[in-house]
Point group: C2
Chain length 378, copies 2
Amino acid sequence: MPTHPKKKAATVRDVAKAASVGFATAARTLGGYGSVSPEVRGRVLLAAATLGYRPNRLARSMATGTSRTLGVVVADIENQFFARIVRGISDVARPAGFEVILVNSDEKANEERVAVRMLAEKQVDGIIVAPAAVNDFGHLSELQDSGLPIVLLDRNIPQLAADAVVIDGMNAAEEATDHLIALGHRRIAIVTDVLSETPIPRDFRPPASVATAGIRLAGFLKALHRAGLAVDELLVRRASPTIAGAYSEAGALMDLTSPPTAIFTTDNVMTLGAFEALQDREIRIPQDLSFFGFDDLDWTRIVHPPLSVVAQPVYELGATAAQTLLGRIEGRAGSAQVRVLPTQLVHRGSTRQVSNGHRRAKSINRVPVPPGEIRPQT
Amino acid sequence: MPTHPKKKAATVRDVAKAASVGFATAARTLGGYGSVSPEVRGRVLLAAATLGYRPNRLARSMATGTSRTLGVVVADIENQFFARIVRGISDVARPAGFEVILVNSDEKANEERVAVRMLAEKQVDGIIVAPAAVNDFGHLSELQDSGLPIVLLDRNIPQLAADAVVIDGMNAAEEATDHLIALGHRRIAIVTDVLSETPIPRDFRPPASVATAGIRLAGFLKALHRAGLAVDELLVRRASPTIAGAYSEAGALMDLTSPPTAIFTTDNVMTLGAFEALQDREIRIPQDLSFFGFDDLDWTRIVHPPLSVVAQPVYELGATAAQTLLGRIEGRAGSAQVRVLPTQLVHRGSTRQVSNGHRRAKSINRVPVPPGEIRPQT
DNA sequence: TTGTAAGCGTTATCAA
DNA sequence: TTGATAACGCTTACAA
């Protein structure tokens, strides 16, 4: 017959009693830490099995002061970027015996603050966070000097002096933009998200403390600057950080009297939204417009044309963050490290050389988009 | 100056001492449960603030027997289907004061077993699981009669008699197939994943205990049967549950001497993989082939042509599961309920009527696929 | 090797 | 309203 129909799980005490050994002895065998004679050990294990004993890890955590749980705060698990990151984290954490508590912050500093405190109160052994705001991190330094290990993901906050795992977004954006410039484009637009509330920066120093989008924007501007191209503010679009946001900004770009000949987007959401807008307007890529996206998601291969994108090692971002965190938890000392993972440009079919490559921006006025003919719309 | 540079968090005892009140009194104010005079209350709160007191939720859980944590086991958080589900769960759980521990099972029953036990040992208040195997659920019933609330997601296991939140995959597949049949298709293929190890079922009773993919396959077959169409086993493809798997099966389909005129896929991974294969072969959809996918993901709108798909309420699947679970946790009684959420067909441009609609299957031999011309390949 | 006893930081009970 | 004191289930000295 099954042990108990419901309720009351067996405890070490119960097992000890059933095996008629001392409490601590049972605890030692079950917890696997002291030493016990094989004979007794067998008795205890048998009793445990018949009672269906399962250890209470909460109690264990209370006693040991370690919960074997990691806290992870990302903007939105629905964003494939973060989903893949979380997978990377999880794949490293589990084999090491750590579980993951996941929280979405929606890029809201306040949600993050609450989440992070809650996680700390739940006694997680460490926290990985993609910080929502780079200028609002009191809650993070609070954690830090409470002694809780914390690893920043995707966005660094130098003032925190915490471990961080990021990509070089500045350089990535620069490379992509360079490529468009090399193809002869002079009116290059960028669709980025409003998380970069910074005004268009006129200087291009490696940004000290600015969000992901801001860094990529800076890289874009730097490339233009290096090429001696003036920045047309009309071509710098801050979208709300949604597909719809990018959609409408990309649309607005094409409505300009002098639309861009190339568009660069700064993350996968922007890429999707902008691309959809171009599709709906039946703008031919790359004939009418060159397009450079961000994030090498599966779908970028199967659209028409396949998109050239900046590929970042998303999974590794998560895995590395987890490894870093586990290292700290196991007591690795040393000052905080910022790990910068490499990106690369993936060239597919969405950009092309434009003919008049020499500073004739004025004459590149685009003709109104003709109604498309390729796609069998339904 | 900041309280402590590191280590040792303040406890209720510390606060009590600092406020010079009894320990229990401090505990009551801080825990917000007993009654305390406003005056004392103020003193305690002040002391707590200056000491930077943060409750230890683990200790609280020990005492109360409730951890305010939910366990969630899905196949793979990278799959957008599960990512959206988890978002739905999280959005319901958090406002209710519950955190979520996330585990990936990769559809492996054994991973799931380990995960589920670990979660139980961590004293989660309930578990939501998309069970990997419908015939291997000992670990789940084990939980059940330990009294831990459990909600099945996406896949029901009738023998368990647990709450479940699913869609009617049978009907969904049937509808999609019906639609293809109505368009005159007679050689209709299906690309599904190998999780349905069931042989091609010859009977179409509402499947008692079969995985998601199997149910959808049954719906497909049922539709064919109702239309009096014979099943060509060559057109029933079990792919490994990856993009690559679907890719190669779809490719194989088109290599048949008598390829299908329509393809139906049974989840978003199959859809992506199959579609990519068709793209790469430059098969024109819907001119050369009609295509019906599964899951209304964003990218299905922006491919060429936009895909007709079975849309399921993914977010709601998660949200409903969480609501159901919370209900049980709060003690709602009553027998297990299976909630079936509605699906719907989204018609876009990937299917079309075929001319010879009347049982002339034999004459529908397709001509070899001509090299495509539309896409500016790079 | 075994057992006793003292925590871990809460909540819950019960007098005062 | 207060304040001891006993759980909660485990680990960790410390003795025996």
